[in-house]
Symmetry: C2
Subunit: 66 residues, 2 copies
């Protein structure tokens, strides 16, 4: 099962969902749905996010319970 720490990282950088959305070129709603855990984004989105937060992808998205 896929989990993520987008909300925490976003808080650390004091970005709104809108801010983050713009930086990685997706809609605000998409950020919301990802934070909620509603779906597994594309690797492209994940890589862009990792760049914004300056952490490895694995530190944002990870499989829990295999």
């Amino acid at each position: 099962m896929l989990k993520n720490s987008v909300r925490e990282l976003r808080a650390r950088y004091r970005l709104t969902q809108q801010d983050l959305a713009e930086k990685i070129e997706v809609s605000r709603q998409t950020i919301g749905l990802i934070e909620k855990g509603d779906y597994a984004p594309s690797i492209t989105l994940a890589l862009k996010m990792a760049k914004v937060f300056q952490v490895p992808v694995e530190q944002i998205f990870y499989l829990e319970g295999e």
Copy 2:
């Protein structure tokens, strides 16, 4: 633009597309299309692949030319 080194890693482990497909639970065709660069897989697929190859996701998938 998204690039990847799936083919190289798969060769290193001497796995067929079919083998890899089974390990990460996708179809053989999907592996072929990813190697060809036809599309950006989900982060879930990428994480599973990273596990198989025992490398960070960034070593498999990366954005080239921003």
